[in-house]
């Protein structure tokens, strides 16, 4: 009954997936700058339960902060400082280029429909947004194809999640992938240090991509990369002669016997993935390979579980 009345964008929040995910936290590993008190470490010292250090009292300090015990023992005026915890500003970057439209034969299904890479990304983004929102963290969204299409700055209001879900629901795959310039642009836009979640198939030159991620890191962001690929793109299982058409209409179409170049193709993909993984590792960026053949909730739960154990 509720299904019938729920708005289209709410479909992106799968109750089963949310049930799995809600037990987990997505906690920023580094320090993030937030506006309100939350569960993430803030660069500022403030009110908290966790003691940080003592500091010499200077005029103007709140006398409530004076450590009376130290004053009593040593007759020195020191002020107690505590680690401030703040909320997180997370921005989800969703690649909506035409190449994300590929579904393949082995994609995981949702409500009987196989998920394209973009659908998969949509669900991932919605779930992550919901998760963060539930943690009282501010969540923003950027969708892009060849250029930045829509940017919703992070807000921690609950109603903000609705805006994000609405945007995710209407995002359509279009245009070629130009990740590097878009990411560089976004790195400039996203203001305070926070979490950046990139969901893309990363069909881009690895050097430029790593450079763009490095840009985020340089600005102090923690970056999460969800590398979403379809099973066919990873295993190249085609047998008969096929005509391969570029979904982004950039490269010319090719007609060939896929078996003849399978080994070469797989080597290239492996090289691409390895280079990305290595580049991300060097930048201390979480690189999360995801195959659309695996249900997105399992993939996400698995990742979050691993992350929380670290």
């Amino acid at each position: 009954m509720s299904r019938l009345t729920q708005p289209e964008f709410m479909r992106l929040l799968d109750p089963a997936a949310l049930a799995k995910v809600h037990q987990l936290d997505l906690v920023a590993r580094g320090v993030v700058e937030g506006l309100v008190t939350g569960r993430h470490r803030s660069p500022h010292k403030g009110m908290s339960v966790e003691f940080a250090e003592h500091r010499q009292y200077v005029a103007g300090d709140d006398t409530r902060m004076l450590d009376w015990r130290v004053l009593g023992r040593s007759d020195r005026y020191v002020v107690k400082q505590f680690v401030e915890e703040t909320n997180l500003r997370a921005t989800i970057l969703l690649d909506a280029s035409a190449s994300m439209d590929y579904t393949g034969q082995h994609a995981a299904e949702h409500e009987g429909q196989p998920l394209s890479k973009l659908d998969y990304g949509r669900f991932l983004a919605a779930t992550v947004a919901h998760l963060l929102s539930g943690q009282q963290d501010a969540v923003g969204l950027a969708t892009f194809g060849a250029d930045l299409r829509r940017y919703i700055p992070p807000r921690s209001r609950t109603s903000h999640l609705r805006a994000i879900l609405q945007e995710l629901a209407v995002t359509e795959p279009d245009g070629p992938t130009r990740l590097a310039p878009v990411l560089n642009d976004l790195a400039e836009r996203v203001g305070r240090r926070g979490l950046v979640v990139l969901i893309s198939d990363l069909f881009e030159d690895t050097a430029a991509l790593v450079e763009a991620i490095h840009h985020f890191r340089f600005r102090g962001h923690e970056v999460l990369v969800f590398h979403v690929l379809a099973e066919e793109e990873l295993t190249f299982p085609f047998e008969a002669v096929c005509r391969f058409v570029d979904a982004e209409s950039v490269d010319p179409a090719m007609q060939l016997d896929p078996r003849a170049i399978r080994a070469e193709y797989l080597d290239r993909v492996r090289e691409h993935v390895d280079t990305l993984r290595e580049g991300c590792g060097q930048l201390r960026v979480d690189y999360v390979p995801m195959c659309t053949a695996e249900p997105f909730d399992e993939a996400l739960t698995g990742y979050l579980g691993r992350r929380s154990r670290r």
Partner: protein
């Protein structure tokens, strides 16, 4: 190259099938719309060339397979006398097919596709047009113009045609092919069949169209033996053609192509014989022009099938000649294996004077030979037949037996003319000679062969005719009367042997030191040349004697003495010798032995039919100690035998040579006493007889067929009694299988068209006016099968290779799989830890 089924060639359009299949496959390709094109393009860039090559190879092979099948059904045919070489036409077609396949592989590259298709079309058109032209040329070349023709079929009936094979003898096969040729002749054709062995025999009275009669006559045909006389056979063929009335003429020669007997000028080592042969062939060629049209000669060679087994009694030789009844003579029989397999004959049977000896033989490898020696002492003088036979069942039985006629002498009359000399009568050289030649006191029955007679030089006027002597020795004779010297020269010219052993008085130093003046130096033959093989140029008297140098012995009579090593000849010393100056090899003079100081000892020369020998010293004890040596007896015997041999008639003759006898004319009426010659088959032949004075000169020329012949005398009742045997030897080259190559019959091909038929079918086709040649469809079918297999193998190989090089797919770790793995790992490590703890406890 042409085709017999032209219409099938249209099937080459089926070449489009593999191309269409290929193109349709491309068109039916599943469309994959995705984004991973960058990897696809990168991969394709590095594999592009290989993929293209594989596609080109596969398509070319598939097109080739179709084309080979179509061509096989079109029955490709290579004419025996092709005008347009097939290596132009066939590769043209196949290249066109391959180009079409390549065009299919490069279909998307328009420029290349069009170029390749144009090339393929052009090549195919040219090749097919050339085939059409070839077919038309061949029809014109071979078609029978002018209706009926005269045909002569020459069937080789020589001895080598009796060689057996898996399907009968070569002669049987030749007859079968002759029958096929007769059957192929048109009803109006006039056919003559000739059997050609040592002689040529027609199988019909003349050219006939009665094929049944000809076939009947072939049933009685038997091999004739001997060697096929190629030129004589062709002469006989021209004779037969000349009797025919048709304009078109053909000669078919069915032979095993043994080279011997063809009298080819190129085979002759002797330039003069080569010129003679050339003239004979020229005469044959001139006879061709007398015919209304030059006949075409079709040569069909019966090939040797498989490895033959053949033993041949190659030679029968005597260890020495002449042969007397005085002592045993060695009979050497050589058995040769002229086949291609190793054989193990048990023994050779040698029959002589009614006695049969069995001499064992060892195994003989192919090409090997073995000689066995039989020591036999003849008991009767006169001609004797030695026969040797190997009992072995080989492929060519006729040559397992050989015969030789040996003339056994009763006596060998030797005349010794001796000078007076200065020594005592008992030291005269003639005495030593006579003693050395005379039979010993303990001589066995039959005595010695040599019967020496001594006579003083002064008494030569009373000698009478010299013909009764075989050998005359001049021992220490200073000079001879001129009349006797002339008679002596005639004796030598007529075949007698003369030995000059000059003594001390044979010459003296001339006035004013102008060299040696000697009767012998002045003695000239009728042709103005010196009679003796050497001039006496100086008299050497030595302090230390000169000895014979055995290493210089090259004289035929000395080989036995030098070989034995038992003789004391080398120890003999000569103190006084004449220095001999040989005439030179242009006069036939040769030095047969030298002394240790290098001077010539024995010099000989042929004069007319006889021989003259000069030794550098006589047999006087004053000159040398030879008379005291044991070697003197064999030495003088061997020299006398050698001198006598020139005069001995050899009754073992090569085929075709005329034999002649001088018989005492016993008078009487010619019809009452007739002389005949019985040939090897026992058939009697008339001889030519002529009275010359008191002698009857009898000759016989029909000696072409090898074997044992007998001159026979018929008495009044017609009973024949053998008088003299003779053997016509077989040409040894007849079994050595020196085969004529097609180019060797240049004397024939220089005069008229010669066609070498490689199969009976080609021969029949050439005779019947069809185009002879070879059909190739079998090879094309095999090639198509091979191409099919190759295509399958290559397709599989490419597929297997693609599978083999398939790298592991890229796997993204799955969350639950990773957790399971993690759990497994920890579980195992826990178990290990517990195990370790347990072990420690």
């Amino acid at each position: 190259m042409t085709f017999l089924n032209w219409s099938i060639l249209a099937g080459l359009g089926a070449l489009a099938i593999p191309l269409l299949v290929h193109l349709l496959n491309r068109r039916r390709a599943k469309v994959v719309r995705w984004g991973a094109m960058r990897f696809l393009h990168q991969s394709f860039a590095s594999r592009n060339r290989r993929i293209l090559l594989e596609e080109m190879l596969l398509l070319a092979m598939r097109c080739l397979l179709v084309a080979l099948l179509v061509l096989a059904f079109a029955r490709p045919f290579v004419p025996a006398r092709g005008r347009i070489p097939w290596p132009i036409i066939l590769p043209g077609i196949l290249l066109a097919v391959v180009l079409a396949g390549l065009a299919g592989a490069l279909w998307s590259r328009r420029l290349w596709r069009n170029r390749l298709l144009a090339g393929a079309g052009g090549l195919l058109t040219v090749a097919v047009v050339l085939s059409v032209i070839e077919a038309s040329l061949q029809r014109r070349l071979w078609s029978r113009r002018g209706g009926a023709q005269d045909v002569v079929i020459v069937v080789d009936a020589s001895r080598s045609m009796q060689m057996r094979g898996p399907d009968g003898t070569r002669f049987d096969r030749a007859l079968a092919e002759a029958r096929a040729a007769i059957n192929a002749a048109e009803p109006d054709d006039a056919v003559t069949v000739l059997l050609a062995g040592a002689t040529v025999e027609p199988m019909s009275a003349g050219p006939t169209s009665d094929r049944a009669e000809l076939l009947r006559s072939l049933r009685t045909a038997r091999p004739m033996g001997g060697t096929m006389q190629g030129l004589d056979s062709l002469h006989a063929a021209v004779d037969a053609l000349a009797r025919g009335t048709n304009v078109a003429k053909k000669i078919v020669v069915i032979t095993d192509a043994q080279r011997s007997g063809w009298s080819l000028p190129a085979d002759r080592m002797d330039a003069q014989q080569g010129r003679q042969d050339k003239a004979r062939w020229g005469f044959w060629a001139s006879r061709l022009s007398e015919l209304p049209s030059r006949p075409e000669v079709i040569v069909r060679t019966i090939e040797s099938v498989g490895g033959t087994t053949n033993l041949t009694v190659d030679r029968i030789e005597l260890s020495r000649r002449p042969v007397g009844t005085d002592r045993p003579v060695g009979i050497d029989v050589t058995v040769a294996n002229t086949g291609q397999t190793t054989v193990s004959p048990e023994a050779v049977q040698i029959t002589v004077e009614g006695r049969t000896y069995r001499e064992p033989l060892a195994a003989l490898a192919a090409g090997g030979s073995q000689t066995v020696r039989l020591e036999h002492r003849f008991t009767r003088s006169g001609p004797a037949v030695v026969s040797a036979r190997v009992d072995f069942n080989d492929d060519l039985p006729p040559d397992n037996q050989a015969r030789r006629v040996v003339t056994v002498l009763q006596t060998l009359p030797v005349l010794i003319i001796e000078g007076q000399g200065l020594g005592r009568p008992d030291e005269r050289p003639g005495r030593f000679l006579a003693a050395a030649l005379a039979p010993p006191a303990d001589a066995p029955d039959g005595g010695d062969l040599v019967a020496p007679v001594r006579i003083a030089a002064a008494d030569v006027g009373d000698l009478g005719p010299l013909d009764r002597w075989e050998v005359i020795i001049l021992a220490d004779v200073p000079r001879l009367p001129n009349a006797f010297a002339a008679e002596l020269e005639r004796f030598v010219q007529g075949g007698g042997g003369l030995w000059v052993a000059p003594g001390a008085q044979a010459g003296r130093v001339g006035r004013e030191g102008s060299g040696i003046e000697s009767f012998y130096n002045e003695w000239t033959a009728t042709d103005g040349q010196p009679l003796l093989p050497a001039r006496l140029v100086a008299r050497d008297v030595r302090q230390s004697p000169a000895r014979p140098a055995p290493e210089s012995f090259s004289h035929a009579a000395l080989t036995e003495l030098a070989r034995r090593g038992l003789s004391d000849l080398a120890e003999m010393g000569a103190r006084a010798t004449w220095r001999l100056e040989p005439l030179g090899s242009e006069h036939g003079a040769g030095v047969g032995a030298r002394l240790t100081d290098g001077t010539a000892w024995l010099v000989d020369r042929r004069v007319g039919a006889g021989r003259v020998l000069v030794s550098s010293f006589g047999l006087s004890p004053a000159e040398s100690d030879l008379p005291a040596r044991r070697a003197v007896v064999p030495l003088v015997h061997e020299l006398v035998y050698w001198l006598a041999r020139a005069d001995l008639a050899d009754w073992n003759i090569p085929p075709g040579r005329e034999v002649a006898w001088v018989l005492p004319d016993e008078g009487g009426d010619a019809p009452a006493r007739r002389w005949v010659v019985a040939d090897p088959a026992g058939v009697s032949h008339d001889v030519t007889a002529q009275r010359v004075g008191s002698d009857l000169h009898v000759s016989f020329a029909a000696t072409q067929v090898p074997g044992l012949y007998r001159l026979q005398q018929l008495d009044a009742d017609g009973h024949a009694s053998d008088v003299a045997p003779f053997v016509v030897q077989c040409d040894p080259a007849e079994v050595d299988a020196d085969i004529l190559a097609p180019g060797d019959l240049e004397p024939v091909s220089g005069s008229t068209r010669v066609f070498h038929a490689r199969s009976p079918a080609e021969m029949v086709a050439a005779l019947a006016g069809d185009v002879p040649g070879e059909e190739l469809w079998k090879y094309f079918a095999i090639a198509a099968l091979v191409t099919l297999l190759a295509e399958l193998v290559i397709t599989r190989w490419i597929a297997a290779r693609r599978r083999a090089v398939s790298a592991q797919p890229v796997v993204f770790p799955r969350a639950h799989a990773a957790e399971a793995a993690l759990r497994r790992r920890f579980g195992r490590s826990d178990a290990r830890d517990e195990g370790a703890k347990g072990a420690a406890g």
